[in-house]
Symmetry: C2
Subunit: 358 residues, 2 copies
């Protein structure tokens, strides 16, 4: 089979240009005589690659100078612990908008007084808590949100105003998909494997005044202050994943950056949602007011038909459309690197499937 359209939720589709360049450079990166994978992380050649990735990210997200950019390991799940270990001394407020938000809260409770201040768990996470359901306690160490909920296909439509309370955001599944003003946040973190690059890299963007608060039992690899002091190289970073992220971010810059990709993401997701809203077989799962631009969840009324749809789609080169095991149904993840053509092909396939099965 030729290249398919891959709707996986992450690891996920990557820009073909980035993959082609990685393949071409695999044995000999720019005349160095070695693969990037073989380079010492202390070499000048590698430091240049590392710096390039950070600079690209700073440029694309317009990250101010008073924020550190850390390239770490351990995924967002590692940061669920790190957030609390680095910031929690009194109490923290958590908004429970999905499975991973809930996991972050659970993990934080190991380290102190982490309070859930709003939750849509009882509603099956079909929506996120509205901003008027969120009461900001000004004495909280931080307020924690998840900007996009991969599993349920929801997104926070409007970032809440937390005043002086540092806002901490897990942006794993929609970072770089739309413009966010980093200045609104104390900390932004994301696993790379959706819109940044390959799995195994975790980006942490932290306002510098929030450093220096880590509890002494914080493992060094999760300690933002230690890692900031060492330029993310207390130990060997995930060197190749950082290089790949650089190639993917180069591609995003070539597309016109975040503002331009946002327009395309609006177009791509509208194509799917518009189809779903008029379909008499499929319907969207997430509440309309907080639909994700990245993860489109939908289903028929018939579980067996859902299974048949996922299988037939895969046979037609439309892969990984099965919904997450905790949510069921279908999910089309349409990250930045998913071309418009992929979404168009999916909608055409859904139309023909609908004709056949109604």
């Amino acid at each position: 089979m030729d290249r398919v359209f891959n709707f996986a939720a992450g690891p996920a589709v990557m820009p073909e240009e980035a993959l082609r360049r990685a393949a071409a450079e695999m044995l000999n990166y720019k005349g160095t005589g070695m693969s990037v994978m073989e380079m010492s992380h202390r070499s000048a050649a590698y430091q240049e690659i590392f710096d390039h990735t950070v600079a690209r990210l700073r440029q694309l997200m317009d990250i101010p100078a008073d924020y550190e950019v850390l390239l770490l390991q351990g995924g967002a799940t590692g940061q669920f612990a790190a957030v609390a270990m680095n910031l929690l001394s009194g109490f923290a407020s958590y908004v429970d908008s999905g499975h991973f938000a809930h996991s972050a809260w659970m993990e934080a409770m190991k380290y102190g007084d982490a309070r859930c201040i709003a939750s849509t768990r009882e509603e099956g996470y079909r929506r996120v808590p509205a901003n008027d359901e969120i009461t900001v306690d000004p004495s909280a160490d931080y307020l924690y949100i998840t900007t996009n909920n991969t599993i349920y296909g929801t997104r926070i439509p409007e970032i809440p105003d937390t005043g002086a309370v540092p806002l901490v955001a897990d942006m794993s599944s929609n970072i770089l998909s739309q413009p966010y003003d980093v200045r609104r946040f104390g900390v932004v973190f994301a696993g790379a494997q959706k819109n940044i690059g390959p799995a195994g890299l975790t980006v942490v963007i932290v306002r510098k005044d929030l450093l220096g608060r880590a509890r002494k039992e914080t493992p060094n690899v999760l300690n933002w202050t230690v890692m900031a002091d060492k330029g993310s190289m207390l130990n060997t970073p995930p060197t190749y994943a950082i290089y790949m992220a650089g190639l993917c971010l180069d591609w995003l810059a070539d597309q016109g950056g975040v503002a331009a990709i946002y327009q395309r993401n609006l177009q791509k997701s509208a194509l799917l949602y518009d189809y779903l809203d008029q379909s008499r077989l499929f319907h969207g799962i997430a509440d309309k007011g907080c639909r994700s631009l990245m993860n489109v969840t939908f289903r028929t009324e018939d579980d067996a038909l859902d299974v048949a749809f996922v299988q037939e789609a895969a046979a037609n080169g439309l892969c990984s459309l099965k919904g997450h095991r905790v949510a069921g149904g279908m999910r089309a993840s349409i990250y930045n690197a998913m071309p418009l053509e992929g979404v168009q092909t999916l909608v055409r396939f859904m139309e023909s499937f609908e004709k056949q099965h109604r």
Copy 2:
């Protein structure tokens, strides 16, 4: 420049065959229509890759069934904390044989009573503590060693007998380089970036009866018990690094496995040490009784000449020979993937450099 001989200490040289195969499969892995980097870690295609890597490692190291093999993130440095968080409740004994052994001990002290029972720090780590300097306290939670000290070019010549006390070993820089009987150890761990694969993957081999002891504040991503329960997939693993490790381990199996590569490693290191021992310009740094097979440290009597040597060698395609900043001099890391030809070429170059500069 064509492919060079890369003597970096890690990330380090990888088998060219593995890199070639990765390049060829980059855009479309075995007809799946996607890169391994793009695969969902929950897909059948990816699970097969993951299982293959684990099976290869089990085969090559002859890992018994009562040991778990975990593929994690965070490097050996992450495990410095994890070892203590997962095992330390009373006290633990540390053998301080080098920079990383010392760091592991420092990190463990955050979590409890970690005691240094033998150290060669005062001797500049030119040797490792001898077994008769190590007194095993039978009530210790574990005894911690580092089998090979990358920076100083030393190796433990004979694994100490710790009786019923679990032996925990950081094998980062010589795992798979010589036969070790896993049954002698409670826990073996290693960052992948020397003899396993790319940076960003950490292998932990843990005897199953040692699971279930983690303190409750252990971050999930460092909790061996949680990770064992989830088949190393509590969260997204470093998928591509695991695939690359599989390719590198396939290569090692093709070479005849650990017993065969050990013979080659003896031959490669002997070539260098024999030359050093008769040279009137260069001399080895590590004590003869505990010389590493993987990292050969040496110097001249003249710092400026050391610098010139490293530069001239690099100009001749013999790269990354500079010693670690804390040790000075030169270091030739000759991991499994360094071909004999690389070492022969290095010795020839050293001979001609010696002629020129004596």
